[in-house]
């Protein structure tokens, strides 16, 4: 995290704000809700309290404007700069300006900018924080669409704001779940928790935190799914992604939601059809297709669409053979072969894995094709198989790709 030169901050705990005008992109109530939620993020981790004024001069004046709008930082039309805000001080200090030429929204979509996320970032500036170079932090300067339903500040953001104002006086005020679901996206699975829309009291239960990411070289590391993607290899476990690029020696750590915010974590399988620049993700009896960041419309679809019988409710792993244009799906001790050209399952399947892949006598958690070999992952081991001869070559640790 960083602060502004000389670390300006509000010398009081009661800070006022006023919303001077609104964007026509959203209902006024949705603008107010997004901004109130943004303030709540910061009040929940500091002693600060934010009160809204409906007239006169407030510490933080919030407005929407396009192009030149009276300060020395004109906005630049759609895209580019989305908003800016001033560090704490009198006058323009603390004020936050939003570029009206952007498409503001209350959802996480790929065609608009989520006002809550951008407002939370700008209010970080209004309170004295500068930009952070920690990828995934709220104060990271580049906009990243993400799931905001249970949005929590990154630890770097918390460290930064508490360096200026200290921790909250009493136990943290937890964000109430009083808001109606902000993202009724069609992409949620049937199991998605349904939020109530009635006002609930603050509960003592802190939202469950996802388990921390295992170490790269943990000898017991296993993977849910593995796929190539435009020359890189992505390893998935829970919500975490390990990314191996042919250009950088270091392994990059990300989360699924930082790439595909509306996809659920915990994939079962994934594979890439490189000729169509398409990756398919599988979870339970549904699958999604993505191309880079964008998720193809019309998904998720039931896996029965691919030709699986109705008794198959999930798959273990999938791998696409770029040479034969066949995709192998692994379920239990059997596997199917799917012809990507004819878009149909091949006759004579399922077959026993062990019958065709010598030396592979167990289930497959994840599968990968690289350098002319298949790599079948089972627990903390992986098995390198010669694709043509379907013969086991050698066994390695699952995380041998991480330069351990």
């Amino acid at each position: 995290y960083s602060t502004f030169p000389h670390s300006p901050k509000w010398k009081k705990e009661d800070v006022t704000y006023r919303i001077l005008n609104y964007t026509p992109d959203m209902l006024q109530a949705d603008v107010e809700e997004a901004i109130a939620r943004a303030f709540q993020l910061w009040s929940s981790v500091t002693p600060l309290r934010f009160t809204r004024l409906y007239g006169g001069q407030a510490d933080i004046m919030i407005s929407f404007a396009a192009g030149f709008h009276g300060d020395f930082y004109s906005f630049d039309g759609p895209g580019g700069t989305l908003a800016h805000a001033y560090p704490p001080s009198s006058g323009i200090g603390g004020d936050a300006h939003f570029d009206e030429d952007e498409n503001w929204t209350k959802f996480t979509t790929h065609s608009g900018f989520n006002l809550f996320l951008v407002a939370a970032h700008e209010l970080g500036h209004s309170l004295g924080l500068g930009h952070s170079n920690v990828f995934g932090a709220l104060m990271y300067p580049v906009y990243m669409a993400r799931d905001t339903r249970d949005y929590q500040l990154h630890q770097d953001d918390i460290d930064g704001i508490q360096a200026l104002y200290g921790p909250p006086r009493e136990s943290p005020v937890l964000p109430t779940k009083a808001f109606p679901p902000q993202e009724p996206t069609e992409l949620t699975t049937a199991e998605a928790p349904t939020e109530t829309s009635s006002r609930e009291e603050t509960t003592e239960n802190t939202p469950s935190k996802p388990p921390s990411r295992p170490e790269d070289c943990d000898p017991h590391l296993t993977f849910d799914a593995i796929t190539t993607l435009r020359g890189e290899i992505l390893f998935f476990k829970g919500s975490y992604v390990w990314r191996k690029s042919p250009y950088f020696s270091e392994i990059e750590h990300d989360t699924i939601s930082s790439f595909w915010p509306s996809l659920v974590a915990g994939f079962d399988a994934a594979y890439e059809v490189d000729k169509t620049d398409r990756v398919l993700f599988f979870k339970d009896n549904q699958y999604w297709a993505v191309s880079g960041y964008s998720i193809e419309s019309g998904f998720p679809k039931p896996i029965q669409n691919l030709g699986f019988p109705t008794n198959i409710r999930k798959i273990d792993a999938a791998v696409h053979d770029h040479n034969t244009k066949k995709t192998y799906f692994f379920v239990g001790n059997k596997y199917w072969s799917y012809n990507e050209n004819t878009k149909s399952m091949e006759r004579g399947y399922p077959r026993k894995i062990a019958a065709d892949f010598h030396g592979i006598g167990h289930t497959v958690d994840a599968a990968l094709q690289k350098n002319g070999y298949f790599y079948f992952f089972h627990g903390s081991n992986q098995y390198e198989v010669d694709i043509k001869r379907k013969k086991l070559i050698r066994t390695m640790k699952s995380n041998s790709w991480f330069n351990c």
Binding site: E122, H131, N133, Y143
Partner: protein
């Protein structure tokens, strides 16, 4: 992919504006030597690449330009 020369000029102008806005790059109006300007710009590109965890080359490569074109906050990333 290979870059079309006019596109390249456009990219450099875009990058210069970005570095002026967010990385305190000041174009010395009276600098006679184009190479000098490019040198100083390369320094700023390095700073930007380091901030975003990109490979620090000082060159305006594709990844660097893609990052510059991401929608973002208008506050500078570094201040003098």
């Amino acid at each position: 992919f290979p870059v079309v020369p006019e596109k390249e000029k456009e990219d450099i102008q875009f990058a210069q504006k970005y570095l002026e806005n967010f990385y305190d790059f000041k174009e010395e109006k009276h600098s006679l030597f184009r190479a000098q300007k490019l040198d100083r710009m390369a320094d700023k590109i390095r700073e930007m690449q380091s901030f975003f965890g990109l490979e620090v080359t000082g060159q305006l490569n594709r990844k660097t330009l893609d990052m510059m074109k991401q929608p973002r906050c208008g506050i500078p990333d570094i201040r003098s």
